[in-house]
Amino acid sequence: MKPEPIAGHRIFIVVAAYNESRAIRKVVDQVCVQYPNVVVVDDGSSDATLASLTGSGAYLLRHGVNRGQGAALQTGIEFALSQGADVVVTFDADGQHDVHDVAALVQPVIAGECDVALGSRFLGHAHGIPLSRRVLLKAGVLFTRIFSQVKVTDSHNGLRAFSHRAAASIHLELDRMAHASEILDQIHEGGWRYQEVPVNIYYSEYSLAKGQSSWNAVKIGLRILVKRAFQ
């Protein structure tokens, strides 16, 4: 089920990885089968994340010091653009995403229907999502509705596709998951047309352990507010 417009476009998949040695190789190998241009940014991992990717089909970049997921994505996006990417897709390293969703995600960007396509697990499926996580994410959506101009059903989904122009305008500065809100804000500021696309999220014990705790979510919210206050 490969939609034809994808051929002939340089789609780059950017994966930010921090201490993901257990999951990353499988994720990268799966993505590489369908998309030859994969960029992994190892964000100063202290485990074997980078070593586990030896011989993989991905471009490998390394942050010497951990700078946070937002910074790692920014590095990957800049690299992808320098390699002539038409479309930049961000993809989580923990195996939550389904590579088969990328085609549908990229499609509206390539068709010129929007500049940014945002994956939504609530329009699609969140397989095995625990109740606590569902509540937390919904709170994140509510928070975003209040403090951001962008109205989405899933504000913290790592699967996104950017046109070249939109990707070039993104400049992420906040670390951890705060960059999710930052991206939405910059989509609004840049006046980029965005669209939500249903995607699957697969929860596993591993991805849940790597995800955010509720307390972290509170801290992230506060950090975003502090940044706003000082701007």
């Binding site: 471009y59 390394r62 010497g64 700078r67 920014q74 002539g84 000082f230």
Partner: protein
């Protein structure tokens, strides 16, 4: 002439402040961080005066319409604490983004092209648009 009476606190703290003051003045004289040392010297001097002559703060406080000398010192510290916090917060934010910039530049400079993938189904995409950077296709790209 009356011999001045010093209490224990003054006997301990004033020489200490005097030493700090002299040190700051010497550093300033050597041209090291002139502004910082000048401010430091002023702070030590003011602290010394306040400890030696508590009535000075009381006088200033009264002139400014604040009840007691202690309150004046308290307000002063409150304001300088907030100002310092803001200043340091800004510094940290700037430092953070500077570090990120350096780390990013190094990452981009030392990027490794994908390892050559052996017979794939239909490798249409020209792999390895990366400049080879002197080293041949990195069979083992990780240092």
């Amino acid at each position: 002439m009356k011999v001045p009476q010093f209490n224990t606190f003054q006997l301990v703290v004033v020489p200490l402040l005097a030493l700090l003051f002299i040190r700051s003045m010497i550093s300033m004289g050597r041209g090291l961080h002139r502004r910082t040392n000048a401010i430091a010297a002023l702070v030590w001097l003011a602290a010394g005066i306040t400890v030696l002559r508590p009535d000075v703060t009381a006088m200033i406080a009264k002139a400014m319409g604040i009840g007691r000398g202690t309150d004046l010192v308290l307000y002063f510290f409150l304001i300088s604490f907030l100002a310092t916090s803001l200043y340091l917060y800004n510094r940290v934010v700037h430092l953070d983004s500077a570090i990120t910039k350096i780390v990013r530049q190094a990452a981009l400079r030392e990027a490794h092209a994908p390892a050559p993938q052996i017979p794939q189904q239909k490798s249409v995409e020209p792999q390895g648009t990366m400049p080879a950077r002197g080293e041949a296709a990195p069979a083992n790209p990780i240092r």
